[in-house]
Amino acid sequence: MKAVLLGATSGMGRALSRLLAERGESLFLLGIPADDLSRSAKDLEARGAREVGWLECDLLQPKGFAGALERADQALGGFDLVVVSAGLFGSQERLEADPEFCQKLLAANFANTVAFCEEARKRMLPRGGGTLCVWSSVAGERGRKPVILYGAAKAGLTRYLEGLDHKFRSEGLVTITVKPGFVRTSMTEGLKPPPFAGEPDGVARQVLRALDRGTPVVYAPPIWGLVMLVIRNLPRFVMRRIGF
C-alpha cells in the first residue's frame, strides 16, 4: 500500500502509521509543524516503512490541500490509501465561550475535512479507486449535551462519508469511517476516562483490520458499537433528561 496520512504524528494516527510501517508500506505524512513531521518520518523509517516523505499541510488552510496531495502523489508514484485522523477538539464549555475557536473547530472538523476528502477522491477514482479512511466520532451519533458543537461537526462528516461510500464503492473507492469512543490520547488528556476507555494501539489494530477487509464503519473500542446502538434508539424525552 502507498498511503497518505493527515494527522499521523499523534494519537491514533501515530499508532496506525506505525502498524503500516511495520508492514513495510510507503508513507507520506501531512500535517504541522515541520519538525514534528520529520521526527515521525524518522520513527516510521526505523520501524520498517519502505519510504517516508512528508510535507507541511494545515487542516485550517484548505487552499493548500490540492498542492499537498499533488506532491504526495509524485513522491509515492500514486497512492491507494488516504487516512485523515487530524482534527480539533474543544469542550462544549470552551466552544460556547469562544466563538472564534468554535468557528475554527467547525471548519476543521467538517468543511475542511470534506474538502480534503474531495481532493483525495478526485485523485483516486480515475485510477480505479483505493481506500479513504477518516476519523469521525461517536459524538456525531446523537445530539448530546456534553458535545453539541463538536458532535454536530462530526455528525455532518459521518453523513458525508456514508454517502461517499454508497456512491463510489462500486467504482472501487472504499470509504471507512472510524468512530472512536473514549480513547486515551493527548486529545482526551485531563478528561475523566469512562470504564471502557480504549488505547490508541488497540484502535489502530482494529482500523488496520478494517482497511484489509473494507469494513465501512469501525466503532473503537468495539463496545461503543453497542453503547451507540442503545443511544441511537433512546427516545428524545429520555435523551433530554440524561446527562450523557
Binding site: 499523534s10 511495520e22 521526527r39 524518522k42 526505523a46 493527548s186 488528556e189
Partner: protein, 423 residues
Amino acid sequence: MERASENFEAATASAALSRGLGRSYGDASLPASPADVVANSRRADRILGFDPGSGVLRAEAGLSLRDLNRVFLRRGWASPVSPGTQYVTLGGMVASDVHGGNHHVAGTFGEHVRSLRMRVADGRVLEVSEQTEPELFRATLGGMGLTGHILEVELKMERIPSAWLYTETRRVADIDDLVETLLESSRRWPMTKTWFDSTQRGPGMGRGFAVMGRWAEAGEAPPQPPLLRERLSVPPLPIGLVNALTVSVFNKLWFHSQSRPRAAIAHPQAFFWPLDGLLHWNRLYGPRGFAQYQCVLPIERDTRVVRRFFAIMTRRGCPSPVSVIKDCGAEGRGLLSFPKPGISIALDVPLRGERTQALVDALNEIVLEAGGRVYMAKDVLTRGTHFRAMEPRLPHFLEVRRKWDPERRLRSALSVRLLGDDV
C-alpha cells in the same frame, strides 16, 4: 498534576519531575507535593535514528523497552541491559541506571549511553555527554530524575546472533551453594541469576535454583523470531493471595519442580521478563500491596554477612515469592548508580505497617555495616539517615545538583524522603 503529551519537550517546561511508565516500585516517580507538575514521557516514544553499522540508536525518552524489542530483536539487535520488566522507558532506565542479569559483564545501562538531550532546571535544553558536560552526565545516570528532564537518549545497542536464549538451570541446596554457584557460573556465563525460597529456614536456608544464559547461536535457535505475547490480567482481589502459607507452598513446589539440571532454548520473555506475562500481577498481594527492597552486599572473601542477612529475613518472616540474587560487577560511572561488586538481593515485602518498616530497618543495619547500599528505584522504606550513611558519593552528587539546580526546583517524593528536600 501529571502532563503527558507527544511533545515531551513542551511538557517538561516548569515540571518538577519526569516520569516514565511508573515501574519503579517506590516513590521515585511520585511528586513531592500534589501541586508539582510531573511530565509523563510515555507518549514521546519516537525512534529518531538507528545506524545498523554501529548499532547506535537515538530515541525519545518515552520509548519503551517493549517497543524497542518488538522492532529490533528480529533484526538482530538488543538493548545491552534489560531489567526484569519490559514496561519501562529509556528515560526511566537512564534515571535508574538499571542493571540486568548480565551486570558482571555489561555493567549498567548507563555504560552504553552515548549522549542525552536534557532540559535542566533553569529551562535550557542541552546535549549532555561525557564530552560536553561530564559531571552532569554522570549525575544523571542513576540520578532518579533529579538533575533534569531527559528528552532523548542515544545508546549503543548489542548485536545478537539470534533473538532466543540458550539457558541452563540448576538447583542449589543452600545459601553457600547458592553464592558459590553464582560466582562460579558468572565466570563462564554472560547472564546469571538465582531464585531462592525466602521462607525456608534452618539447614536448607537459601535453597533455590540458578539460571545461566546467553543469546543462542543462529544454528541452535528456532528459525522464526519469538513472538512477544500479550498479557493475562489478574483481577482486583479482595484479599491477598500472597501470604506466608501460600508462598511457602508455592516455593516448595517450585523448588521440587526443578529437580534435574536442564538445558533449554528459552523465549526472551520467559528469561528476562517472567512477570510481564501477568498484567497487574501485583494485585495478587491484595489491596494492601507490597514494596520491593533491593540491596547489594559486598562479600569479598566471606559470605557470613549474607547468612546474617538471610537469618534476619527468614526469622522476621518475609514471604516473598520473587526473590532474586545476582552478582554484581564493577561500579558504574553514574554518581549514584546502584550496583557495586558483591551480591545483590531483591525481595518483595508485603506491606504490613510497622512490622515491615522494622524489617527494612534491620536489613539496612546489616547493609550499612557490610558497606553495601540500597536501590532507590525499588525502595520506599529506607530512612534518610540510613541512606546518607550508605552513600559516600552523595556529597559529590549534591554538589553537582547544587550547581545545576540551586533552588532545587526538581524534586520527588523520594528526594524529600532520602535527600531532605522541602515539600
